[in-house]
Subunit: 307 residues, 2 copies
């Protein structure tokens, strides 16, 4: 079933203890789209780039089955650019450069033939733009998943709260959940956030896995213990793309199926961090993916009979 | 099957954001013994206290089926005393006082009727004392589990490495695993540590769960997401006590059974943090414990059929 992905398509320059890149393709919607493309070939992209964005990168997205009819190209402007440097523990990073460029005035135009999309993934963008996307859809999707970040909690909390009322699933990290709720305990945080609109909350904890909450249930998915994390950039978006992609493929929005979706998202994210940028997730085989999912099953599987 | 527990029995004074205690019963062997007592009533304790240690506390241990024949009482000396204050996040703490007292010259005398013990749990002590315990056993136990801490890595690394050669399972936290191995990645750390002697390594990650490694396999057990952590003191020892207690009960040292033991240990630890000190784990029912284990099963259970 078809999926609409809205978010940034951009340039990243990444420095880690293992090396550094020039400007390479990045952006939330890039990672989400690529990751989702392993589950459904009906991925419709809405994003904006400048005239500096390579045609080869757009072709690469299309080769993955991503429809780029909704990718606006502003020929006389520059693409969004982010540069960052990771610290030795790979859990913290410094932003070296953020150039909004085309993203500063992004107007998310939805092509007519995208209107029937059943699933919507809103990558990290200003909450106002995310809200505009929802308003411009003539029919509400079956499931709306939204990602956001602490930055918007600081400068656009009112808009963010308005947008939260319109979505089904919110995906944020542990620190963002604490900031949004004012609660340190993630259980308490989830209760408060689930009062704000979303029916389901995903809390990403990086190397410590992810939690999935609805008002009655909680599910925990571990991250795979890895020998090396080469570059964490895009892991959260890759996770989200795997999650929504699996749901779009199966057409099942039950909590039980969301658990499976979290595992597939985690598996995709575990590949993402193995190489720079999108390098690892542009060349995945079904066999590799299934084998990785089996690793997750083996990692947490145990049998206990309670007397 | 019978279990020998060696470690500190002591006084703690604890301060958390939720309140503070006077001197209350603490010590690694106290938590380990109490926790293990929910699985086997053949817990044999070797430890030392001063004349200041309340008889009522010793009776409490005995009521839990803990044999205190090996608990030395130095009438004219004082018990080991630790005081600490937890920070608001409950993950970090300051040590306010450490008075070694009787523990400074602890000579671990093994009563004759303890000699047939099949399982040995060495709580955190100087590595030399841990080694002495092993040397004094006429028959090697079926499984020796050892806990230690960063302090010994700093001041007695040589002794620690000697002791590591003699044990089957090492239980440490993530920071200690990094310190002992010099590797940030816990997968790499586990490989190095499993070359040092232990056949199995448990890495405790506090609120992020625990990892169990042998040379071929890895298992991850989550921590239960809790609304409140009231006092983390003793949680690691309670976890270890549940682990070794379950193994002593079942008499099965396979990796599959160690997975179950980790879940039971995690369940016990999740109770421990709900109240100050040992308060919560002295009054547990089988029903409560089974219900908590079911919570762990529900937390991580998912079904995926890989095509």
């Amino acid at each position: 079933m078809s999926l609409l992905v809205v978010g940034s398509v951009a340039f990243d320059a990444i420095e880690t203890p293992f090396g550094k890149t020039d400007k390479i393709i990045g952006g939330a919607a890039t990672y989400i789209g690529l990751s989702a493309s392993y589950f459904t070939k009906k991925v419709n992209l809405v994003a904006v780039v400048g005239g500096d964005f390579p045609k080869t990168d757009i072709e690469m997205l299309e080769k993955h089955g991503i429809n780029t009819a909704g990718l606006q190209i502003k020929e006389n402007e520059k693409s969004f650019f982010w540069a960052g440097k990771y610290h030795n523990d790979m859990n913290t990073r410094d932003t070296l450069t953020t150039e909004l460029n085309v993203l500063g005035e992004f107007d998310p135009i939805i092509p007519d033939n995208y209107q029937s999309c059943e699933y919507l993934m809103l990558g990290n963008l200003t909450p106002k733009v995310q809200q505009t996307v929802i308003e411009r859809l003539t029919k509400r999707p079956k499931l709306i998943v939204m990602d956001t970040m602490n930055f918007w909690m600081e400068i656009a909390l009112g808009d963010l709260k308005e947008t939260l009322k319109l979505v089904d699933v919110l995906s944020i990290n542990d620190e963002e959940a604490r900031q949004l709720s004012g609660e340190y305990s993630l259980v308490k945080a989830s209760k408060k956030i689930l009062e704000m609109g979303p029916k389901v909350l995903i809390i990403k904890k990086g190397e410590h896995g992810a939690l999935l909450f609805n008002k009655e249930e909680v599910f925990f998915a571990p991250a795979l213990p890895l020998e090396d994390v080469f570059d964490p950039t895009g892991a959260g978006d890759t996770f989200a793309g795997g999650f929504i992609g699996y749901i779009a493929k199966t057409g099942d929005i039950s909590f039980a199926n969301m658990k499976r979706a979290i595992i597939f998202g985690s598996a995709l994210a575990s590949f993402c961090v193995e190489k720079f940028g999108t390098e690892r997730i542009v060349h995945l085989t079904e066999k590799e993916l299934n084998s990785r999912v089996q690793d997750f099953i083996d990692l947490v599987q145990f049998e206990i009979k309670i007397s």
